[in-house]
Subunit: 388 residues, 2 copies
DNA sequence: CCGTATTAGTTTCCGAGTGGAACTTAAGGG
DNA sequence: CCCTTAAGTTCCACTCGGAAACTAATACGG
């Protein structure tokens, strides 16, 4: 169901940007309105360069000059540059075996419409058709980003356990079916990148994102870049051991982080088979059994946070997902877990807890499209890569 | 004691290199002799650019033209470019509370001399003096790299448990005392970087280095860059749990990876308090008790390897250190540990086992100096950093 | 033995892009 | 009002890197 009509704007295709233009656009996207002088300082560019680049970006419709910000002391006031979000529209799609979630955003990843519908079929061809049907309802798209829970390598879905896919060239198929450049990636990876560009982790050099939902997911930003394994895998922390005598996990092991945190396993341990919401109510009402299960889950989450922090010592640990009521009811035990695991002062961990709605998953698909569009990854143009 | 006399060469200071020059030099350093055309292809530069850059680097004495390599089919043969290692000398120093290990290498990190002596004192000033004394024995040094087991941030030793240091500005002190540009870093970090530039991990995009010695150390290369935490910490994997009923670790916990692998803890568990070599002999002779301890250590090592691989899915896992006889006697259990931990096909892990001598630690100090010299980090010149 | 194909390396030239210096603009303050 | 301050712009010289065209060194086939 479409929650808001498409406001119908901007059909111009994405302009070709120089590398510096991309950097400048990105800086404003991530850090909000900035003056030319500020951008020049941050990017270590000369002011003349910024004059030139900003002029080009304004002409291309990507930036607009906003208010002038009066200075505290003397001097000419800054002219703030804003991203002209309305210039482009992006569609994000999150696929689950049951449902398809969609979000249309502008260039700043601000949603302008969301949609949700049952997945008509899990067959790749029909899914592509369904995505194309959704895309058709939003004309003038600049890019599409599709995410799913599987292993994605260069737009190829190598493997998706949930959808039952193997080697599905989804990127090519959706691009063909819609005529819109499309990017595809693992959902947790896309969410991590989205939080790093458009969320509370914006612009950080290092960031760990932990999502708690039906399962647990982890994503890492190191050196300002998303960590993607050499086989396309997102980082797996969730089968680290907490207690070998713990509950049995889907993976066959016992007592790993995942076994404490997977919703299904948690509910299975409770008599009466409640729903997640019911179980939460029990905990809040002081039910001992449910409290124990949630306490253990909280502790396991703390161990996860501590383990992640041990490994990459990030500037921030971002805790997100639909399952964050867990943190609300068990935050003490989360911190116990961190304390028992992290090898330095737990106060060094900047833990940011941001519960979110499920549509955030779809939004991060749009963010993926935006990122791919800006970096040029979506058009697969070969690029000279400098290393250091 | 100096094992080889300094051959006395090359006193020219390090030339100022353009970014492209650095890239080209690095390419030849890491991948060995290459033709201009090959380098141009790898770095996506035009051949004219390579002509220019190579000419400059030859003039600066950093590259030399070697043999021509006849082509398989038709065409003019390639003229191979080699790094002129003799052009520069670097000193690497590894500090332990008891001893100082030194190695002098050429530009290719090939040792030309090694030295080892007791540390006269742990007092920072005296250590600096001792390093300067060592450096004086090798005139014409281009750079010095000092490594130690502590937390190092920007040349400042924030904390070293073993030496008992807090906030020692070692880089500045050694630079002043010797007059030679100096870099300082954590030993495991330097070793990891050294293996990534001059070892079996040369040039890989992602690499995990695990060192087994008195303790366990881990270093990561992701996206071709060394992972350094936001507080200067190297990655800590070693307190991941293996079995909560395991031996007690120095950190106060029980059954973490480190507790199984620390030499002291292993030996403490054996009756008769043998040395490490004696214990190894017992294992080889079939002693059940010692066999059990080494088997558990091997298993823990496997868990560590699996955990690391889960997290960053590297192209290669490099196993090094003085403690690798452990792998020799317990490789089956190492692989059991991997199998029980790694969530994908264990054959995907490219495990490279390279036992090494303790002087490798000093060599990696020299490699640190080389790296710092080439990247310009050693002179702290501000540098425009491009992000993506 | 000699042209021809093939590939490596060089030279010439040009355009893109960048920053320094100087200038203009828009404020605040005596 | 004029001076100071700092943002933004214009001008210009310089650097760098690639396209095109050229030379060099080999294999191969007649």
């Amino acid at each position: 169901m479409i929650s808001e009509a498409d406001t119908g704007v901007a059909t111009s295709s994405w302009p070709r940007l120089s590398e510096v233009s991309r950097d400048v656009l990105l800086e404003v996207l991530i850090h909000g309105p900035l003056s030319r002088a500020e951008i020049a300082g941050r990017l270590r560019l000369s002011r003349p360069t910024l004059t030139r680049v900003a002029k080009a970006l304004v002409q291309q419709g990507l930036l607009v000059e906003g208010d002038t910000r009066p200075r505290a002391s003397a001097g000419r006031p800054s002219e703030m540059l804003h991203v002209r979000g309305a210039a482009h529209r992006f569609l994000g799609v999150k696929l689950t075996p049951q449902r398809l979630f969609a979000a249309v955003t502008d260039l700043t990843a601000t949603p302008v419409a969301t949609a949700e519908e049952p997945l008509r079929s899990c067959a790749p061809d029909e899914v592509v058709t369904q995505i194309a049907d959704v895309a058709r309802r939003f004309p003038g798209l600049t890019g599409i980003g599709v995410t799913l829970g599987g292993v994605v390598l260069d737009g190829l879905v190598a493997w998706d356990e949930f959808l039952g896919w193997t080697d599905v060239p989804l990127k090519a198929a959706v691009t063909r079916a819609t005529g819109v450049p499309t990017a595809v990636d693992n959902d947790v990876q896309a969410l991590t990148a989205a939080q790093h560009w458009f969320g509370p982790g914006a612009g950080l050099k290092s960031l760990a994102v932990i999502t708690v939902g039906a399962g647990v997911g982890t994503g890492l930003i190191v050196d300002g870049r998303l960590v993607a394994g050499s086989h396309g895998l997102p980082p797996h922390f969730s089968h680290t051991l907490v207690d070998a005598k713990g509950p049995q996990c889907g993976c066959g092991r016992r007592g790993c982080i995942s076994s404490y945190l997977m919703t299904q396993v948690m509910l299975r341990r409770l008599a009466g088979r409640p729903t997640y919401e019911e179980a939460l109510d029990w905990v809040r009402a002081g039910d001992r059994e449910a409290g124990q299960v949630f306490a253990e889950a909280g502790y396991a989450l703390g161990v996860l946070i501590g383990t992640v922090a041990n490994v990459i010592d990030p500037q921030k640990v971002l805790l997100t997902g639909e399952g964050l009521p867990l943190y609300e009811v068990s935050s003490d035990l989360v911190h116990d877990g961190i304390e028992d695991t992290y090898e330095d002062d737990p106060d060094l961990i900047d833990l940011d807890v941001r519960p979110f709605d499920f549509t955030e998953w779809a939004r991060s698909g749009a963010a993926l499209a935006i990122k791919a569009t800006i970096t040029g990854a979506i058009s697969e143009r070969p690029h000279r890569d400098r290393r250091r």
